[in-house]
Symmetry: C2
Subunit: 275 residues, 2 copies
């Protein structure tokens, strides 16, 4: 009876803002029967330009709120928080399982082939921390990993200018900052939750045949595998519910978040929480 | 004796991040003999996408720190905080004089001519609050004011991509969102402290002869006038000192801030404060 109650709890999804909604969307597709509760710490976004200490403190505070709601799994749908605070969050949440976005993305990238050339597109903080570099090296020491900070792509995704010549020019300009050899990787990792929205544009800039790994869908697959291994899949057999929480700016969350979730949202769909 | 001591106190300059350094630079040029102390609330930036309540709370907390350092004038070098929290800050700081960036910018714009067409380029929050619209209407009821939210220009300035075709294309695309008549204003107001870095690019997109009002230099002139009227100009006659405080991310502050200040900065130049 107790196990059944736990398996019917929602999955908690945490991000600094709306970017993690790309992970939420992938979770809904992979796990349509699961209840989901998403918390965007919009009052303190972006995490990507803040110091590791601040990021870890913010992430621990915010996820405590999800823990209090009752969840069976925490998905840290934020590359920066995954890179900086995953161990701190696992300690705080124990025995609740915690999945970040970096490890699933790195695993999927390594599946390209041993010794492959990887290019990670991410925020400044994720690049500075070398999160994907370390995670890939742990799986394949012969892999080559280059990391490229692309802050403007975050604003581009939030503005909704994800297709067209401006987006292509900006991605191309970032690629020009790489030495020539690094511009033709075997695998490009979208190491920021905003970047799946720019997937088509990035595909236009890289060589045809380059693999593009999207950490949203790989994280959803990791969540599915985790629930299966713990026998925690919902037993109800009905479509899961969705709650969206934010720490500030419900109107902006709805407008920008709708683009990330691929659904129309209004401010009334967002519950504001004060941490 | 007491008056002399007060006049030798520094001017406090407050912003949510590095953008206000354009105002600081203008203050140094206009008032080279004054000591300046700048506080960037980088732990909680950007203010531009947050709710009015959060912005006012953050601004009041941060400026209290400047007040405790001992200052003779507070310059709120942040359009969003000026738009949302100026009255709250004046109340908190009284009898200390407080100057925002919106009123000086609006005054300078109205000097273009009575009944002029104004176009305000700003962040979402400043546009949503109609800050310049109200400030201009208070001075000239016959003026026409249009406001355009240009969030991407903030990232563009921080990335340092302020010249060249990408910057021109982005500014042009924002202008295309306006109805045709609004694209040829008499006066363009740079209603975000980041935008003076894009002044040359904006000048390439607007009609030749369009006046461009930069709220950084107009605010520096307002500060000069305020100090004169209160007999608070420094009497020392030597070059003023500069202290830079930030609430997070000294390294990024130095790298990005150097572009805004027009000077090379290292992380050692930044004092971290915990609010």
């Amino acid at each position: 009876m107790k196990t059944s109650a736990t398996s019917d709890l929602p999955i908690g999804v945490f991000d600094s803002g709306v970017g993690g909604l790309t992970v939420l969307q992938a979770l809904r597709a992979a796990l349509p029967g699961e209840d989901l509760i998403y918390l965007g710490d919009t009052a303190r976004l972006p995490y990507g330009t803040k110091s590791p200490g601040s990021i870890a403190r913010y992430a621990c505070q915010a996820t405590q709120h999800l823990q209090q709601q009752g969840i069976k799994l925490l998905v840290v749908a934020c590359n920066t928080a995954s890179a900086v605070a995953l161990e701190a969050l696992r300690e705080q949440m124990a025995p609740l399982p915690v999945i970040g976005v970096v490890e699933p993305g790195a695993s999927a990238a390594v599946a390209t082939g041993i010794g492959a050339d990887h290019l990670v597109l991410a925020t400044e903080a994720t690049v500075r921390l070398g999160a994907y570099r370390k995670a890939i090296a742990a799986l394949d020491q012969t892999a080559s990993v280059r990391e490229l900070a692309c802050e403007l792509l975050v604003s581009l995704a939030e503005e909704g200018w994800t297709e067209g010549s401006i987006a292509v020019d900006i991605v191309s300009r970032y690629f020009e900052q790489l030495e020539a050899a690094a511009r033709t990787p075997d695998c490009v990792i979208l190491g920021c939750t905003h970047f799946p929205l720019l997937r088509n544009t990035i595909a236009r800039v890289v060589e045809p045949g380059t693999r593009i790994v999207d950490s949203a869908s790989t994280t959803a697959q990791a969540a599915l595998a985790m629930l299966d291994s713990l026998h925690l899949r919902s037993s109800r057999g009905t479509a899961g519910s969705l709650r969206l929480l934010a720490t500030d700016g419900a109107m902006r969350f709805a407008r920008v978040g709708g683009r990330f979730l691929g659904a129309s949202l209004s401010a009334d769909d967002i519950e504001l929480v004060d941490l």
